[in-house]
Symmetry: C2
Subunit: 397 residues, 2 copies
């Protein structure tokens, strides 16, 4: 008979359970004001444009749009991404260096798959993106976290970590990060890039939120500073729709063959009809106008959240003030576990994600992720007021 | 600087290059009659029905159809698959035991990911499905091939292999296999199941072509014989459209949690809009009528191929006579490398896939895969006539 103990591969032993999934289960009730989600605001999805694009694709391409296709993805879509890199970030990325992936989540899986042996050092910022921690954990690296501060990576700690561990790759979301909303400042990027320049480490720059900027200075990509050693991950989930699962990976030449092999083994190719519909949308609608609408709504909601926090939270709770994206980060005075605050909050029908799962050591964190993309301004004011009451009571200010 | 030699993970060392891709590149010219492809016939795609379903989904569900969704997949679609198992194969598979995957290719990746450690024995039939060999190779198993004969697996060789290597899993496509078109007969399945019953091995039964039967007796699934140790892989690519990349994995309870974790890490979930469109199609159109159309066309084309082979091929070339699917297998007299035949054939503008990539040892095979789903009856007669001339010359009959 099958031996239960030996059934699974070793790589399944270290994968963190999705704590957020468990949290979200407790927050589905309609009375709960939830800052726990991580979804784009569905009110902004371009439903009619998707409808027109789907019909347009089937009328124009018919069976071709429904057949098997190349593993690298639709070439015109890769061209569009290449042109977008040029127009938005002055980056010179050839379409041949882009593979369409089934969400940027797949990009995380592919890059770890082709690069990471068990025990290899893998650097990442902390707090870090949970989806990346989960994807990477399957390949059993030794995680080498570097603290993320309100203006970016801890440069000294980064230099020490690269020097000591020589990680094969380092993962970062430098703009409007999930979970923190923090961006690396341009000055921080300069210093960070200088540290990487003297290392053997490949930098994975994940940028799902970069286009959702509503204030502050433009930030230059690490790929502009370190073109030969930066792998870019991108996504249409936050600027178009997430349900299509279309992202991409852009990498230096020497990685492309192995990435293509891994992509083909993973799912042959990304949904081709969806790629065609997306391209049709990009060619016939204005995604810039659409992004402007998203920015305006998220900007107002973020503004409502920071204003409410200023009124309601004790001064000892420090918060990020993001210039874009969907999240804001609150740091509680030392020793106050965010899980305790969560337990009190859920009794008052307000939810957030305690910081615990965003640290690879699974610590009892004193940090909170607050999502502002999916709650309207009145809900934000009310929810933050309830949280403020709980925090004032707990902290005693 | 980066060290090129140490750049990639060890798992990338053993992945076979897609030989078929290279072959297909040589056969894109319109003058070539190609039996080398592996595509469903695009003339049969239900374009108008997809169009109606896409519009219907957006009108009925709007933003919901475009948002992030659960990793396991759309529950009603999993219910449909569960009911289909019951109605078509008298199998009792609960929807909770089904995960929607990004094509059945992803199912191959997930099952190997959660089960296979480097060096673990993994059994498979030989010739075997190339996509599976590629997906599995990334996890560096020791492949333990078992010969596939015209009526199914070599039972003696299977018993010896299970006894000697105790493989963690064994992979098979028992109905209308790719590449051979061979099915395990019911008698063969009885004997094979008996061998597995006395082993610790999990059976992976991949069945993308099972519904495309145009003659012969119904074959009972291994899952009916070995419900506790069979993992089923399925696909809508051959009965609906491949471009949607929708497949599924159906597994015993004890595998579901790890499969779900691996699925979430791989791409969060499969394109949700496409799942909704497919479900809408299944609810508003008759897929049974559609499958009947596919069967009729493929049956005629297979008939044309077997008739032409009887006329044109030397008697010493033995061929399978599939009751379904898309492929037919030709076994040349010993010592004649199919690659030589391929080189001669391509000069005459006819193509097929030499058997080499379907064996894990990469041998110079004396076997040929002939696809009949994408060439019409006249093209089949002409292409087989050209191949017959080449074979008669080479074999000297």
């Amino acid at each position: 008979m099958l031996q239960p103990d030996s059934l699974f591969s070793d790589r399944m032993a270290d994968v963190p359970k999705s704590f957020i999934r468990e949290i979200l289960k407790t927050t589905v009730s309609p009375e709960v004001i939830s800052f726990a989600g991580g979804l784009p605001n569905r009110e902004l999805f371009p439903i009619q444009e998707v409808r027109q694009a789907a019909v347009g694709v089937l009328d124009a391409y018919g069976a071709e749009a429904l057949q098997y296709a190349t593993s690298e993805g639709l070439y015109e879509l890769r061209q569009w991404i290449s042109q977008r890199y040029r127009s938005q970030q002055q980056l010179d990325i050839h379409p041949d260096n882009i593979i369409i992936t089934t969400g940027s989540q797949q990009g995380l899986d592919l890059i770890a798959k082709i690069l990471i042996n068990e025990g290899d050092s893998l650097g990442l910022e902390e707090p870090g993106y949970l989806g990346a921690i989960q994807a990477f954990a399957l390949y059993r690296p030794s995680f080498r976290p570097v603290p993320l501060h309100f203006d970016g990576l801890d440069v000294q700690a980064l230099a020490r970590s690269l020097d000591r561990f020589q990680p094969k790759l380092f993962y970062t979301v430098p703009s409007f990060q999930n979970p923190s909303g923090i961006s690396h400042s341009n000055a921080n990027r300069d210093a960070v890039a200088e540290v990487f320049r003297n290392s053997c480490t490949l930098l994975i720059e994940d940028n799902p939120y970069g286009e959702i900027r509503f204030s502050g200075e433009q930030l230059r990509s690490y790929a502009a500073r370190l073109p030969d050693r930066t792998v870019l991950l991108g996504s249409f989930s936050k600027i178009f729709v997430p349900g299509f699962r279309i992202g991409w990976i852009a990498a230096p030449d020497r990685l492309m063959e192995k990435l293509t092999v891994a992509k083909q083994a993973a799912d042959l190719h990304t949904n081709y009809f969806a790629q065609r519909v997306l391209l049709q949308y990009l060619q016939t609608s204005s995604i810039d106008e659409h992004i402007t609408r998203i920015r305006d709504v998220y900007a107002r909601q973020k503004q409502a959240m920071t204003a409410a926090i200023a009124r309601e939270f004790p001064a000892s709770v420090r918060c990020s003030n993001p210039d874009g994206g969907m999240f804001l980060w609150a740091v509680l005075p030392d020793g106050i576990p965010a899980r305790e605050v969560f337990d009190a909050a859920i009794k008052e029908n307000v939810a957030f994600v305690p910081g615990d799962p965003f640290y690879v050591d699974g610590r009892a964190a004193s940090t909170m992720r607050l999502n502002f993309s999916c709650v309207d301004e009145d809900g934000i004011a009310e929810g933050i007021a309830r949280l403020g009451t709980i925090l004032r009571t707990r902290i005693g200010e």
